[in-house]
Amino acid sequence: MIEEISARFPYWAIAVLLVVGLYGMMGKRSLVKQVIGLSIFQSAIILFFISGSLLEGATIPILYSVHGEGHANPDDFVNPLPHVLMLTAIVVGVAIIGVALSFLVSIYREFGTLDERELLDDVRE
């Protein structure tokens, strides 16, 4: 039981984080909160990928053998591919948030509020 939990709980925690982020995006009235939800959602995905890249008894993916002696055993390192993917994903996330914030500022200047309900009322008039 404990073993099962210890092997699975990161996935469950990540599932919770995903849902919390999604809730922030869908259920919050404040546009800023929606952006925060987006950020949480994205980092949950990042954690998911990295969490899956673990390897028993492995170390960080730096090959000290390159300029030294001997050959590296792939089993000694955690899987580096998800790391690369997540680097990309983080940057993409920041880019999206940057754009979202510029939208927010622009909307605030136009409407004077960031409350979604007020905004919708304003547009419908």
């Binding site: 730096i62 680097l87 940057v91 500022v105």
Partner: protein, 151 residues
């Protein structure tokens, strides 16, 4: 964050101590990306973070490291241009896009006294491109988002 914090210590630390340190660290991260954790992204992010911290600490208008937006766009374009150059150079030399194998590296090894392979040379080139692109764009975004309030 609109007010200027008239704190001498903050001013001093930010301007004289923290920022140069972070900048140096950023360049270190960039150049040692192949050896240790780091690379263009991280370096770009760190340098950008340094510049943004100054803006946060001192207020935008007074920031010493205020860079004109036109220049930032130029820098971003140059960074991406470097990256594209790293991709197109092999194309001109008859290899696939982004295939670093034909990149001439001997001149650099003689000049710097290292033993780089063509591929690691290619990696260095594009990391530099990424560095400029990321740093410039992040600063640009902040300047526009936060700076637009007090024109």
């Amino acid at each position: 964050m609109n007010d200027r914090y008239d704190s001498v210590i903050l001013h001093f630390i930010a301007r004289v101590f923290l920022v140069p340190l972070i900048l140096v660290f950023g360049v270190y991260v960039l150049l040692h990306g192949e050896l240790s954790p780091g690379g263009g992204f991280q370096a770009g992010a760190i340098v950008a973070a340094a510049l943004l911290l100054v803006r946060l600490a001192l207020g935008n208008r007074q920031a010493a490291l205020r860079i004109p937006q036109g220049l930032l766009i130029w820098l971003a374009c140059i960074g991406l241009g470097i990256y594209m150059f790293g991709g197109i150079l092999p194309l001109i030399l008859g290899y696939n896009f982004l295939d670093y194998a034909p990149i001439p590296v001997d001149w650099y090894n003689q000049f710097a006294g290292e033993a780089r392979t063509a591929r690691s040379m290619g990696i260095l080139i594009i990391e530099i491109g990424v560095f400029f692109g990321v740093a410039a764009v992040l600063v640009l975004i902040y300047d526009l988002v936060a700076g637009s309030s007090r024109q």
